[in-house]
Symmetry: C2
Subunit: 358 residues, 2 copies
């Protein structure tokens, strides 16, 4: 088994803690290890042969530095010269794996997700792998616990067979609330988590079928016997990305392929898509406050506040439902239900030409 971690996200919604060069996956938002490091370590019980981390040029150095402590299995950092969404990144990783080990299975994971129950996560990957070895494209579908309108959904055909994995009927884009409520009630809809398990040669086959242009470009990569020496590949990767389109694996392959299964999963998952989502997966005090990097905060009548204190003495007095984030050069104060609007702040700073703050 090979692990492929997609680590190129920019994470503007975690500004000012996240920046272009230090997006969410490279931050230790929970204290200690970064989300990328946690994602990698979470896969070690799967005993992968190699771990391939796909990132971008801005983040490559820090990504490699964060993973330098890992030696077994080997970790390869593949650098995309520009981001082209998930399909090219996955195609490139699949090509690298298939060239060495065509029947090798690959587990594709976003670098910046939270998973509470890591043992259950591994069990679900093993379940998915069995089907992957039989030629299926398998996705992990998160059993929804609320009518979330911020995720895509996967409809499973639970009629035909009693046990998972189930055949996938369709992929659904982020739904309006009414539809999300129906999905939740129906019981056979799952959140599309972006976690996949398949054989390298199977996904490449499906790319040939549904993404012939990308497939042809990938086929032109030329390997020597030192193919894992990625430095040698860099010029070829640069050339590859100069000629391919941006596309998601969902739209490019998953929604079109006929051999897709879903493994329902409930292992305490969050995409940690905003400061308010972060609060949900962090340790909270008895008033639901989360104080990160804020030792011994003074909390007087404060509720549901999330504070990143940059090590300072934090004091909260009579405030509710806030997100307060302080860094060396910026201070964000945001109402919790407006966390999605943090990216607007980044847009304003971008328009003002404040590159040093992005």
């Amino acid at each position: 088994m090979y692990v492929v971690i997609l680590a190129g996200g920019s994470g503007t919604r975690f500004w000012p803690l996240s920046r272009q060069r230090s997006p969410k996956q490279l931050l230790s938002v929970f204290g200690g290890k970064s989300m990328l490091q946690r994602t990698v370590e979470r896969t070690l019980p799967l005993s992968p042969k190699r771990i391939i981390v796909v990132t971008n040029a801005l983040q490559a150095k820090e990504t490699a530095a964060q993973l330098a402590y890992l030696h077994d299995p080997p970790v390869d950092v593949v650098v995309e010269p520009v981001g082209r969404n998930t399909a090219p990144a996955i195609g490139l990783a699949a090509t690298l794996i298939a060239q060495r080990d065509p029947r090798g299975t690959m587990v594709v994971l976003p670098a910046d997700h939270y998973i509470r129950d890591e043992e259950e996560f591994c069990r679900k990957v093993w379940t998915a792998r069995e089907s992957a070895l039989n030629g299926y494209l398998v996705t992990l579908g998160i059993a929804p616990d609320r009518p979330e309108t911020g995720f895509g959904y996967i409809e499973a055909d639970r009629g035909g067979r009693g046990v998972a994995p189930y055949p996938v009927t369709r992929f659904v884009e982020k739904p309006p609330l009414e539809t999300a409520l129906e999905f939740l009630a129906a019981g056979n809809f799952y959140w599309n988590s972006g976690m996949f398990v398949w054989q390298a040669q199977v996904i490449l086959e499906k790319m040939r079928e549904h993404m012939p242009l990308l497939s042809a470009s990938l086929a032109r990569l030329h390997f020597t016997c030192e193919c894992w020496e990625l430095a040698d590949l860099r010029p070829q990767i640069e050339a590859l990305y100069g000629g391919i389109d941006s596309e998601s694996i969902d739209f490019g392959v998953m929604e079109k392929a006929d051999n897709v299964l879903v493994v329902p999963a409930s292992f305490g998952w969050s995409d940690v898509g905003s400061w308010s989502a972060l609060a949900d997966v962090c340790e909270q005090d008895e008033c639901e406050n989360v104080c990160l990097d804020a030792p011994d905060p003074v909390v007087i009548d404060a509720h549901r506040c999330t504070v990143h204190g940059a090590g300072k003495q934090v004091a909260l007095v009579g405030v509710d439902d806030l997100i307060v984030v302080e860094t060396a050069d910026a201070l964000l104060v945001c109402r919790r239900d407006r966390a999605q609007d943090v990216k607007k702040v980044v847009e304003v700073l971008n328009r003002r030409g404040r590159q040093e703050l992005l």
Copy 2:
């Protein structure tokens, strides 16, 4: 005329910006000069012979440093070894003045008040001085514009004479709201601002009458002809403060004396007693936000917030009625109507032994 500035306050309500060694009066909360410097400069049109600043040992060095740029008139910094409220500080200053210039008038001013209309302030002091020269104790009473329960009030007898100053009928402690509403409606009640004008020898006379112990202690001070060399006086001042009680000039003299007048004043006054009071006297944006030391803040749907940003990029998203103060070692987030509770934070830190934060 002599100016006496009382500058020994600790200002815990402006934590974390104010600290024991840098209380409110030593801060440049409005940008630029400190409140002490502004208070001193406000008196220069009065052409005082000398300016006497009474402070405490913790703040003496910074106080002297902030006033070192002033040469004409001379500025004396008198250091109290311990704070004993206003009566001893005023008695000491009056003794220093009377020893040189018994009929000299002194204007007593707190160091940490805001006054918008400085010309009107000077006019009112001149008005008060006329009565002071006739042997009265004159206080500046602020015409109230709201039923404030946080100040003491002065009742004026406006019946006897048509023009100010008016005789003072009584001093009233901080009233409950109902009483404050009555005072506001009555029209002859004024806020006790702690600003006084009198002759040095008159206040000393009244101290002999109403505060005999303090008066006797002050009378033991021994002056040489170099009496303004305050360094020589330090041992005597230390001894003086070892033997006197803590008392306010209001309770010790003003409430008991029979020759007190009040000059009503409306010059845009605030005691700047809390972070929320500060916001009222600062420049606000169109949504009533005040951003201090926060260049070019990004403000998205925020109202009535006061932020001290320590020079950082501040961003406010969807938040109302907050006080946010950041310093090198602390971050305060407080609901605006809880600004009085900031001192509770200081109490908690004190109990925890966090001296470095006080």
